[in-house]
C-alpha cells in the first residue's frame, strides 16, 4: 500500500500533465466544432444543390468512417497529396475538429428542425427580418433543444481523445501506457485512468445539464 502511495506521488505530475493535454484537445475539439458546425448546418439547408451535396458528403463521410482510419489517413496519406507534413498533435487537432464538426452539424440540424414553423411565421408577422428572426428566435431555441445531444457528443469527444494516443500524442492515455509499461503495473494505472475519464465525463455532462436547466424558461426550472 505504501508502494502504491509512493508510485502515485512519483507519477502524479506526469499523469496530471497528460490530463491537461487531454483537456486541451477536448477544448479545441468542442469549441472548434461548436463554432464551425453553425455555418455548416445552415449551409446544409441551402437550395443550391452542388454546395449542399458537397457539404453532405463531408458530413456523411466523417460520420460513417472510424476515427482511427481518419487519423491515419490525415496523418499519413494526406501529406502525400498536399506535400505538407503535419506533426501528430496538428493532425490530432485537425481530425478532432473535422469529425466533431460533422457530428455537431447533424445535431444542430436536428435542433433547427424541431423549432416549429409557427415561430418563423410569428416573427415574420411581427415584421422581423429573416436574419433577425433566425438569430433571435430560431437559433437560440434550436440550441436549447439540441443541448442534451450536444452533451452526449461532448462526452463522446472526451472518450475519442484517447484514440489520439495511437499517434503518440502525449495525452492521458498515452502517458498511462508509458508508465504502465515502465513500471509493469498496468492494473493500477489503467484503472486509475478509467476513473479519471469517468469523473471528467460526469463533470462534462453535469455542466451541460445545468446549462440546460439555466436556459429552460418558466417554472419547470
Amino acid at each position: 500500500m505504501e508502494d502504491l502511495a509512493a508510485r502515485a506521488l512519483k507519477y502524479g505530475p506526469a499523469l496530471l500533465n497528460g490530463t491537461l493535454v487531454t483537456l486541451s484537445y477536448f477544448v479545441v475539439g468542442s469549441v472548434g466544432s461548436l463554432l464551425l458546425a453553425l455555418p455548416l448546418a445552415l449551409g446544409l439547408r441551402t437550395r443550391r444543390r452542388p454546395i449542399r451535396y458537397l457539404l453532405l458528403a463531408y458530413v456523411e463521410f466523417f460520420r460513417n468512417t472510424p476515427l482511427l482510419v481518419q487519423l491515419f489517413w490525415l496523418h499519413y496519406a494526406l501529406p502525400m497529396i498536399t506535400g505538407i507534413a503535419t506533426t501528430a498533435p496538428e493532425t490530432a487537432a485537425l481530425a478532432l475538429v473535422l469529425v466533431m464538426t460533422a457530428y455537431m452539424a447533424e445535431v444542430y440540424r436536428a435542433g433547427i428542425g424541431s423549432v416549429s414553423q409557427g415561430q418563423l411565421e410569428a416573427a415574420q408577422s411581427l415584421g422581423l427580418s429573416g436574419r433577425h428572426s433566425w438569430a433571435l428566435l430560431v437559433l437560440p431555441q434550436a440550441f436549447r433543444i439540441a443541448l442534451p445531444a450536444i452533451g452526449t457528443l461532448l462526452v463522446a469527444l472526451l472518450k475519442a481523445t484517447t484514440v489520439l494516443s495511437i499517434l503518440s500524442v502525449p495525452e492521458l492515455m498515452r502517458v498511462t501506457t508509458r508508465i504502465s509499461n515502465y513500471t509493469a503495473r498496468p492494473a493500477e494505472f489503467y484503472t486509475m485512468t478509467a476513473v479519471v475519464y469517468v469523473l471528467l465525463g460526469i463533470i462534462v455532462s453535469r455542466c451541460i445539464h445545468s446549462l440546460e436547466r439555466y436556459l429552460t424558461p418558466g417554472p419547470c426550472k
Binding site: 460513417n64 468512417t65 472510424p66 489517413w73 502525400m80 484517447t162 485512468t193
Partner: protein, 222 residues
C-alpha cells in the same frame, strides 16, 4: 502523386484477412453487448430499489469509460485477474462488449418504456401470463422501436473495432496501415480502407434513419 489502383489490388488478401478479423470482433462484441444489455435493462426495471440503482449506475459508468481504455485494461490486466492468457481479438471483443452493454441497456430500456402502459393493463386484464405479456406484446413492440438505435449502435461497434489496433490486432484498418508502412505508400491502402468502411457503414446508418423516420410517422398518426 498518383493514385495507384494496382497497388490496392495487390494488398487485397491482407485487407480481406483484416476484414474477417473486424467482422469477428464486431459480431462477438455485439452479441455480448446485446445479451448483457438486455439483462441490465431488465434488472433496471426491477422493483428492488438497490438492484435498480446498481444496474443504472453500472450502465452509466460503462458508457463513460473510453473504449480504448477498456481494451487496454482487458488486454493487460484481465489475464492477471482471471489467470488465463487471452488473444487480443477476444480481449478487444470482451472490452467492446462490456462497454456496449451500457449502451444496449439504455436502448432496450427506452424501447420497453415506449410501449404504452395501456398495453400492459390490457394484457393484465386479459389475465395473460407474465412471460406471454413479455414475449407476445411488450418485446415485439419494443424491438421494432429499438431497430434504428440498434443499427446505429452496430455501426458504432464496427467503427470502434478498429481501436484494437492499439493492442496490435491486425483488423482491416491496421492491416492497411501496416501494408502502407512497408513501402511508404500510405495513400492507396488507407483510402481503400476508408472507402470500404464507408460502403459498409453508410447504408446501415441510412437504413436506421429511414426506420426511425417511419417510426415517427407511425407514432404521430396514433
Amino acid at each position: 502523386m498518383n493514385f495507384d489502383v494496382s497497388l490496392l489490388f495487390g494488398i487485397l488478401p491482407e485487407l480481406a484477412r483484416g476484414l474477417l478479423t473486424t467482422l469477428f470482433v464486431t459480431t462477438i462484441a455485439f452479441t455480448l453487448a446485446s445479451l448483457a444489455g438486455l439483462a441490465l435493462a431488465l434488472c433496471s426495471r426491477s422493483k428492488v430499489g438497490m438492484l435498480q440503482r446498481t444496474t443504472l449506475m453500472i450502465g452509466s459508468v460503462a458508457r463513460s469509460i473510453p473504449e480504448l481504455v477498456a481494451i487496454f485494461w482487458t488486454y493487460y490486466c484481465l489475464p492477471n485477474v482471471v489467470g488465463l492468457q487471452l488473444s487480443g481479438e477476444v480481449c478487444g471483443a470482451l472490452a467492446l462488449g462490456a462497454i456496449g452493454a451500457g449502451y444496449m441497456s439504455e436502448i432496450v430500456r427506452g424501447g420497453i418504456m415506449a410501449v404504452p402502459t395501456g398495453d400492459w393493463e390490457a394484457a393484465t386484464a386479459l389475465a395473460l401470463p407474465r412471460w406471454r405479456i413479455w414475449m407476445r406484446i411488450v418485446l415485439p413492440q419494443a424491438l421494432s422501436r429499438m431497430r434504428p438505435a440498434i443499427l446505429n449502435y452496430f455501426t458504432d461497434v464496427m467503427k470502434n473495432s478498429t481501436l484494437l489496433a492499439g493492442i496490435g490486432v491486425a483488423d482491416v484498418a491496421y492491416a492497411a496501415y501496416l501494408s502502407g508502412a512497408q513501402d511508404f505508400r500510405y495513400l492507396e491502402p488507407l483510402t481503400g480502407v476508408a472507402i470500404l468502411f464507408f460502403l459498409v457503414v453508410f447504408p446501415l446508418s441510412q437504413l436506421s434513419r429511414r426506420l426511425s423516420a417511419a417510426e415517427a410517422i407511425v407514432t404521430r398518426s396514433l
